[in-house]
């Protein structure tokens, strides 16, 4: 009869081990914290941005961290290692100059003549004097770079920003800005196809792909942000707030 006791002990231990392994150990039940949010109900909420997709967004945030860590940043680091910084800067300028086209048509769509002509002059100057955009003499001549995209054009015409959205690889966005960049990308490919600069070259598609990859690398190379690097537990919340605040302020211009 007593032989059953070791069996009970063994199975209890196994059960406990099983719980520990899943990380969902059956601990004592939750006890409310000493301080809770109700206690401070008389104060205004802060950095509190509506985020109905928070669980998804946080998962994407985490995904981007791993993507950066195991793929993107190693590639960017290799790029920074093998490419002289003079060349890196030329590449940055080149893509930045192509990006002026986006600002150009979006300034037009926002009926902003001043921004349109400034950007037009920048593009003209840098494409010619700046040798196809490799240099940026326009900035030295006092023509400051502006930046516009289709997401902001939508904002200009009164489209609400929609929920906060963390996109894979691209990071913080709103539904509006995500839709906007999809439109900008389509316009770009349409322009590229219409111009077809690689018409007579074999493997034109591979070249286009290569250029796109180089552009992504350049973009990440310019962006100093690293997911979770602050070590601050509320980094996600602060970044979300800063992103929204920046978008809000940019629309005032």
């Amino acid at each position: 009869m007593f032989r059953i006791i070791p069996v009970i002990i063994m199975s209890s231990l196994l059960l406990l081990a099983g719980c520990a392994a899943t990380g969902k150990a059956i601990l004592a039940p939750e006890v409310p914290a000493m301080h809770t949010i109700q206690e401070f109900g008389d104060d205004e909420r802060i950095i509190d941005i509506a985020d109905p997709w928070e669980n998804f967004n946080r998962s994407m945030y985490k995904f981007n961290y791993y993507f950066d860590r195991y793929l993107f940043l190693p590639v960017v680091n290799a790029y920074e290692f093998i490419t002289p910084s003079v060349v890196q800067d030329r590449i940055t300028n080149f893509f930045s100059n192509i990006g002026e086209l986006k600002t150009l048509y979006n300034s037009l769509l926002q009926l902003n003549g001043e921004k349109f002509f400034l950007t037009f002059n920048r593009f003209l100057t840098n494409s010619t004097v700046g040798i196809g955009g490799l240099f940026d003499p326009a900035s030295s001549l006092g023509m400051e770079k502006k930046s516009e995209d289709f997401g902001r054009t939508l904002g200009y015409w009164g489209v609400g920003s929609g929920p906060y959205l963390v996109l894979p690889v691209l990071g913080p966005n709103t539904l509006r800005s995500a839709g906007g960049s999809a439109v900008d990308t389509s316009i770009r490919y349409a322009l590229l196809n219409a111009a077809d600069p690689l018409e007579n070259i074999d493997n034109g598609n591979s070249i286009v792909t290569g250029i796109s990859i180089l552009e992504s690398i350049d973009l990440r190379h310019r962006e100093k942000f690293r997911y979770y690097e602050s070590g601050y537990p509320f980094e996600y919340d602060l970044l979300r707030f800063l992103y929204q605040k920046k978008e809000e302020i940019m629309l005032l211009k």
């Binding site: 914290a33 802060i46 669980n55 509320f234 980094e235 302020i249």
Partner: protein
């Protein structure tokens, strides 16, 4: 915490170019100690450093078997920074101030200056930084200077084990700023027993004489905001609204140096409001510390006891609660009870006294290797604490007439004094 700064913290760290009439004896221009603390040193008055430095991140696995909660999944060890010479040189350990990591702006400035003067440098995060609490603190409860010193010492040993694969050190020195300065004194004392490094020179820059008193003085800055400390959220929102309004009214093109310079010039914020900003920025750091510590110890202070947080969980409410807790709350409800349990019979006053330099005064008074640099208008020090530093350190205390809390750190005279200290 480099990237994730609130706009108002950006203000706290962005330096500008402004033209004040310099006085003959000491040229640091800003006489208001909140403004100097917020705006720092105008670029034209800093020493220009040539070129880049050779540096790399060290990731230290201090407690290899320690389980990490899912919400800290990204924490894979303590992050320190090593800047190295390509020849044998003295090595300076740097300890960051409250809530700061190894690459904070002030750490970078100190590291740069020392590197260009020919030293190896190992920069360590503050024991109050979440990364340290999760990965390098034995108790996960920072603030007890003696225990913090033990933790820091352990980290230094690990860091040096790793660094010696790359570099040769002729001698070891030590420095820290703010709370890190106070830590440096305790680590130096510990080293007298352990004798692992035998520090040749130890410098405290704008240290707290007593942690409790210093923090109480910072917290008191929040008393000046409308509605007092409990309305910190409303104050934050009002500040952001004020900045946004100023931006849209002023015809600025970007949120850049020009914009912040204009904010500075316009006296957008009153003295009370500037004090409030300093208090607010401190609270934001403190919130990270309180939350991290509570999660690691499962104490049920701001997170329900036994709750397992996962990386997808919303943390906004915990931020809101934590930011409303003062250091005094943390002290009375969390920190002191923990040590009371650990050391039965520990009185509150005796405990507070142990959180400062007085407890090791005998050592500080006689050890010629120790020095202090601070400012007469540093608001984390009471006037009698300035006198105390003068009395205990005598010739070894360099007290500048102004500069607030670390506002003049990068001013050229201060940097020369800072680097020069290790050459004596």
């Amino acid at each position: 915490m480099k990237y994730v700064k609130l706009a108002l913290i950006i203000i706290l760290i962005l330096p500008f170019d402004f033209g004040f009439a310099a006085e003959a004896e000491y040229g640091y221009p800003i006489s208001d100690n909140y403004i100097s603390t917020i705006w720092g040193t105008p670029p034209a008055l800093k020493i220009t450093m040539p070129g880049r430095i050779r540096a790399q991140r060290l990731i230290l696995d201090i407690f290899p078997d320690r389980p990490k909660p899912d919400i800290f999944f990204y924490d894979d060890g303590l992050q320190c920074t090593l800047a190295y010479q390509e020849k044998k040189a003295p090595l300076v350990f740097l300890i960051a101030g409250t809530g700061a990591d190894d690459q904070s702006r002030k750490m970078a400035a100190m590291m740069n200056a020392l590197y260009h003067a020919g030293y190896h440098v190992i920069a360590l995060p503050s024991p109050t930084h979440p990364n340290f609490i999760v990965s390098a603190s034995a108790s996960h409860i920072p603030g007890d200077l003696t225990e913090d010193a033990e933790d820091i010492y352990r980290v230094m040993e690990h860091a040096w084990e790793k660094a010696r694969e790359y570099i040769e050190a002729s001698e070891f020195y030590l420095a820290g700023y703010s709370l890190g300065g106070t830590h440096a004194a305790f680590v130096a004392k510990l080293d007298e027993e352990r004798k692992r490094f035998n520090f040749g020179r130890v410098l405290m820059v704008n240290p707290a004489v007593n942690l409790y008193n210093a923090v109480a003085r910072i917290e008191a800055l929040l008393d000046g905001i409308p509605g007092g400390q409990r309305k910190i959220g409303a104050y934050f929102n009002a500040t952001m609204a004020k900045l946004t309004e100023f931006y849209s009214r002023g015809g600025f093109v970007k949120i850049n140096d020009d914009f912040f310079y204009a904010v500075y010039k316009s006296n957008l914020f009153s003295r009370k409001e500037n004090g409030g900003l300093i208090g607010l920025s401190f609270r934001i750091s403190l919130a990270g510390m309180i939350f991290s510590s509570d999660v690691m110890t499962n104490s049920g202070y701001v997170v329900p006891k036994n709750r397992i947080l996962e990386s997808g969980d919303s943390l906004g409410d915990y931020f809101f609660v934590s930011v409303h807790l003062s250091f005094l709350d943390y002290f009375n409800e969390y920190f002191y009870p923990y040590f009371q349990k650990k050391r039965p019979g520990l009185g509150r006053e005796a405990f507070i006294d142990s959180l400062g330099l007085k407890g090791i005064e005998d050592y500080l008074a006689v050890s010629p290797k120790l020095g202090v640099i601070t400012n007469a208008d540093d608001f984390i020090l009471a006037p009698e604490e300035i006198d105390y530093l003068r009395r205990v350190f005598g010739e070894r205390a360099r007290i500048y007439p102004r500069g607030g809390h670390l506002g003049n750190l990068e001013y050229r005279d201060n940097m020369l004094e800072f680097v020069g200290f290790f050459k004596q």
